[in-house]
């Protein structure tokens, strides 16, 4: 067993160490155990070189206890350390660095030697403060090119200074390698090529990275928690750009560049018409409707006074010339487009419109779920237990990118606060268990009451939104019909903005009330944050949904009249899809304007007043100190994105508008953060923030799918406009296409819609979910078992080490006595021998 041969030099060394112990504390003992090279094979032993000459000394000089009942917790015992460096676990460390990254090739590796046998070159320092071990590479086996290349790639991952890595690289490159031939060589060169292109691509992308310097500034002055927020905006921007590109390529470009078929509208038809083909009549009538609608729009009275204001108003509301533009659904015709050069290639625009939108939503969902999975995994890991939260805070709490003294001190304060928070949460938990029954009852009653108040508040706001929308809609109709006097113009404006105004006001007031109410409930700070966030999200999303419902209500379904009466007494707008698109567009623009106004006209003056005019006073500080509250800003962003998703179907260019809006929003928020806000004393942890943002986004996505899905599947599209005019529902376009597809495809697709597919699918998913849950629970149990075992093994190890030390000490003392009797013999050999004998016995 190699251990004996390893112990021998160790014992000799111990003697040399004994004398140095009393002297230079900085030397010797500090073997960097992590640097030891490995083996399993051949001659590695501890080989430290001491600068000083060996002086005599006794164990008594060392002044340490050797035999202890308790497990040693301090490392004064150098002998402990020396022995522990020989332990296999200590030598394992460096090789695990390389191994992790070659996991993929491990299966191929199995027939070759494990990677531990090849070179791990380590620095030998003569200074003595750190003693490393040098292990020569094992060149007895041919190392082939692939292995060499992989090792070269992982040189960076070795935790040694650059000099050593350079030596290692030279060694690897000069070692004789077996040339790979044939298929293996081809594969290797392909791998090399891929990894090179990947790294070059990455470098190029990093050069053109958007907002790099702004993010660096935020990072340096506020920490990484805030950077997560701005990165979220950037991510959303990319998502919207992706959506834009898809919509543009598949809807906009064909619409503009391909050739449209002509719409025939034969207005004066004979009463007993020759054409008794019903479909033809129907189509004819819808075409006439469209023509009529277009004429009305383009002939709307030009209001010459206040032309600029009119323009601005139209721009913000989406009316006027914008109504019949690419911006809204109404402009896209129900045509099958053809290529100029090849008339046989048809492009079904309505089908494309529907399909592209569905596919875009699905792709967005996939991207978001991927990002959410990453974020949730991280946040789940850290919430496994209270102690991991401590570790997370202490080891990961300091942002190493902070460059600013003020930010540094704020960060320290934030960490301090968080630590106090944690300690307080523990105290709270302890206190919670000690609550008397009466107190508990009281607390639950209070919580119930508060929840009911919150529900009441929310219902009141929803009713307000609903009522105001209906009210505005009715009065708008009346006002528009009598659009004579100037005064009415003002009323019209008021009614136009009434629903949006109500929503905005509620969005400002209700969160304040919610924050005040939640204080009564006595939750932990984390729970308070999450609860307030949930309630506010609910408010915002639901108000949007209520808006849509009220619009839906105020567009009463007309009795199934003949298409020739598209100009009927129903109070429906000509093109309700465009109307919905306009409302959402209006909300988007309004949102942007309000953000702009809040930042520049409210926060900025407040800050100026607080910090400049009333400098030093308490009131000044109270007014001027505006914290950059991340949850509120995240909700703003998510709200804007929800509007985009809701309106995407009715306004294909809305993602483009949202992109531009996001760019502006970034700069607005950046100004808010940089100039207006004072440093937040709350620690925002990146992992938790990421998970939070994406989860809220997912929730709002799911909420928006429902109204859009319902309107596609159930509501009759308007006769006068859009790619689906004349159909019963928008979805019937899809059904018609399915009808025309080959039989087998039809059968499959129709089957997917039946209950016969849905019910087993749901059952299967539930079972799969349960299976994974069971596996996870079993793993957890296993982990706790293994952990307990590890603890016991650790105790065993400590026990054995201390016994070993004791035995060495005893034998050393005996050896010492022997040599004192026989002064002629050199000490080292004797004691070495006697020690060996004792151990071998």
């Amino acid at each position: 067993m190699g251990s004996m041969s390893e112990l021998r030099p160790l014992l000799r060394e111990m003697k040399a160490h004994r004398e140095d112990m009393s002297g230079d504390r900085n030397s010797g003992c500090r073997t960097s155990a992590a640097m030891s090279g490995s083996g399993g094979r051949g001659g590695s032993g501890g080989r430290g070189q001491k600068a000083g000459s060996a002086r005599r000394g006794g164990w008594e000089d060392a002044g340490v206890e050797f035999y202890r009942e308790a497990y040693p917790t301090s490392v004064d015992n150098i002998y402990d350390t020396r022995i522990t460096t020989l332990l296999p676990s200590k030598r394992h460390n460096v090789n695990s660095l390389g191994r992790g990254t070659v996991r993929r090739r491990a299966s191929q590796r199995s027939r070759r030697q494990p990677p531990t046998t090849t070179a791990t070159l380590v620095h030998t320092s003569r200074r003595g403060s750190d003693t490393y071990l040098e292990v020569l590479p094992d060149l007895t086996q041919g190392v082939d090119e692939e292995e060499t290349w992989e090792k070269l790639q992982q040189i960076r991952a070795h935790a040694v200074p650059i000099e050593e890595k350079r030596k290692l690289k030279q060694q690897l490159q000069s070692a004789p390698t077996l040339r790979t031939r044939g298929l293996a060589a081809f594969k290797l060169s392909r791998r090399k090529f891929f990894s090179q292109t990947k790294s070059r691509l990455r470098e190029m992308i990093s050069k053109i990275e958007l907002w790099h310097w702004s993010l660096r500034y935020v990072e340096g002055n506020f920490g990484t928690g805030l950077v997560a927020f701005f990165t979220f905006i950037k991510w959303l921007l990319y998502l919207n750009l992706f959506t834009c590109v898809l919509l543009g390529v598949f809807i906009l470009v064909p619409q503009i560049f391909l050739v449209h078929s002509k719409d025939s509208c034969i207005v004066d038809s004979w009463p007993n018409s020759v054409y008794d083909n019903e479909t033809f009549l129907y189509e004819n009538d819808t075409n006439c409707c469209t023509k009529y609608y277009n004429e009305i729009q383009s002939n709307s009275p030009k209001r010459d006074n206040y032309y600029l204001i009119q323009l601005v108003q139209d721009g913000v509301q989406g009316t006027g010339p914008l109504e019949l533009s690419y911006l809204f659904y109404g402009y896209y015709p129900r045509h099958i487009l053809v290529l100029e050069v090849a008339p046989e290639w048809k492009y079904n625009l309505p089908l494309a419109y529907l399909l592209v939108l569905v596919v875009t939503l699905i792709l967005s969902l996939v991207l978001m779920v991927r990002a959410a999975a990453r974020g949730l995994r991280e946040s789940l890991r850290s919430s496994e237990g209270q102690f991991y939260q401590y570790c997370n805070l202490i080891f990961g709490g300091w942002d190493y990118c902070i460059e600013n003294n003020k930010a540094a001190s704020i960060k320290k304060k934030a960490i301090y606060n968080e630590l106090c928070n944690h300690l307080e949460t523990e105290r709270y938990n302890e206190e919670k268990e000690q609550r008397t029954k009466k107190e508990r009852c009281r607390l639950y009653m209070v919580r119930l009451l508060v929840n009911m108040v919150v529900l009441a508040l929310l219902s009141v706001s929803f009713v307000a939104i609903y009522k105001s929308t209906i009210f505005a809609f009715d009065h708008l109709k009346d006002a528009k019909d009598s659009k004579e006097s100037e005064q009415d113009k003002l009323m019209i404006l008021l009614f136009e903005y009434l629903p949006s105004g109500v929503i905005v006001t509620l969005n400002i007031i209700i969160p304040y009330l919610l924050r005040a109410l939640v204080k009564l409930e006595h939750y932990t700070p984390n729970s308070i944050l999450v609860l307030t966030l949930i309630r506010t999200v609910f408010l915002r999303l639901a108000s949007l949904v209520i808006l849509l419902i009220s619009i839906y209500q105020s567009i009463p379904a007309c009795p199934d009249s003949k298409p020739s009466e598209c100009i009927d007494e129903c109070t429906r707008p000509w093109c309700w899809e465009t109307y919905v698109g306009q409302q959402l567009y209006k909300l988007t623009i309004l949102d942007l304007i309000i953000m702009f106004l809040t930042t520049f006209l409210v926060n900025f003056p407040l800050k100026c007043i607080g910090h400049k005019l009333m400098r030093g006073s308490q009131i000044g500080a109270a007014i001027g100190d505006i914290e950059f509250a991340i949850p509120k800003h995240v909700l703003d962003i998510v709200y804007g994105q929800t509007l985009c998703w809701l309106g995407m179907f009715y306004s294909p260019l809305l993602p483009a508008v949202t992109c531009i809006k996001l760019v502006l929003v970034f700069y607005i928020k950046y100004f808010d953060c940089k100039v207006n806000s004072s440093q937040s004393s709350q620690l925002y942890r990146t992992s938790r923030s990421n998970a939070l943002f994406i989860s809220i986004l997912l929730v709002s996505f799911i909420v928006t799918i429902i109204p859009v899905g319902y309107s596609i599947a159930e509501i009759k599209p308007s006769l006068a406009c859009g790619p689906f005019r004349g159909l019963d529902t928008i979805w019937s376009e899809m059904l018609a296409v399915i009808e025309e597809s080959p039989d087998w495809l039809k059968a499959v697709l129709l089957f997917l819609g039946t209950a016969g597919f849905a019910v087993p699918a749901i059952i299967f998913l539930i079972l799969a979910g349960y299976y994974y849950y069971a596996v996870a629970a079993a793993n957890k149990h296993m982990v706790s078992l293994l952990k307990n075992q590890l603890v016991l093994e650790g105790h065993d190890k400590q026990f054995l080490l201390s016994r070993l030390n004791h035995m060495i000490k005893m034998s050393a003392e005996e050896g010492g006595e022997n040599t004192s009797a026989r002064s002629s013999r050199p000490v080292e050999d004797e004691t070495g021998h006697s020690n060996d004998q004792t151990l071998e016995a």
């Binding site: 917790t73 301090s74 460390n93 992790g100 040189i155 340096g220 460059e403 300690l423 603890v791 650790g794």
Partner: protein, 183 residues
């Protein structure tokens, strides 16, 4: 980046690129910063070793509570001086491409104040103290915190060893986000 660099040959740049996680552009920027930091006494070169205090003037290090430990750990000869290559090592480990294991290794040595290869009570107490700065916790709170930390993470007694620390850090997702900076 686009500037013509006359200080490095193509070979040297490639060499540095292979040995660190930095891109070419970052290496050149690092050289610029290095010159700025130590350029007080004449034209700096790549092998001269400069005192630690000069390196600690780097903006990201200046306000870091662990700056002395950082410069000490990354100094290859442990002589309280750093050369340009040590500086590159530091930037490489701190870059976002460095793997967790590598960062964990260096973080362990940074936090190990008494350099005994384990993180024990004294190390952790100093770390907590440095982290909270002027707002110090009460001594009993601090010891309670450290005790709780050790109790839950140290499985075999004797303080947190490097392996345990690495395992621990896989459970601390914030570590990868915060233990980095770039030039």
């Amino acid at each position: 980046m686009g500037n013509k660099n006359t200080t490095f040959t193509e070979e040297e740049l490639e060499d540095y690129e292979d040995l660190t996680y930095l891109t070419r552009r970052e290496i050149l920027v690092a050289w610029g910063k290095w010159k700025g930091l130590v350029g007080g006494q004449g034209e700096p070169d790549r092998v001269t070793r400069y005192p630690e205090e000069d390196v600690q003037k780097l903006p990201e290090l200046q306000h870091n509570p662990f700056r002395e430990r950082i410069t000490r750990v990354f100094s290859s000869l442990k002589d309280s001086r750093m050369s340009f290559e040590d500086f590159l090592d530091l930037l490489s480990v701190m870059s976002s491409k460095a793997p967790l294991q590598l960062k964990a290794h260096y973080a362990f040595h940074i936090f190990d104040y008494n350099e005994d290869q384990v993180l024990d009570t004294e190390d952790l107490e100093v770390v907590v103290e440095r982290l909270t700065g002027d707002h110090a916790l009460l001594p009993e709170e601090k010891s309670k915190l450290v005790e709780k930390l050790l109790e839950d993470t140290d499985l075999d007694g004797g303080g947190i060893s490097e392996e345990e620390f690495k395992h621990l850090l896989t459970k601390c997702p914030d570590f990868t986000h915060s233990f980095r900076f770039s030039v």
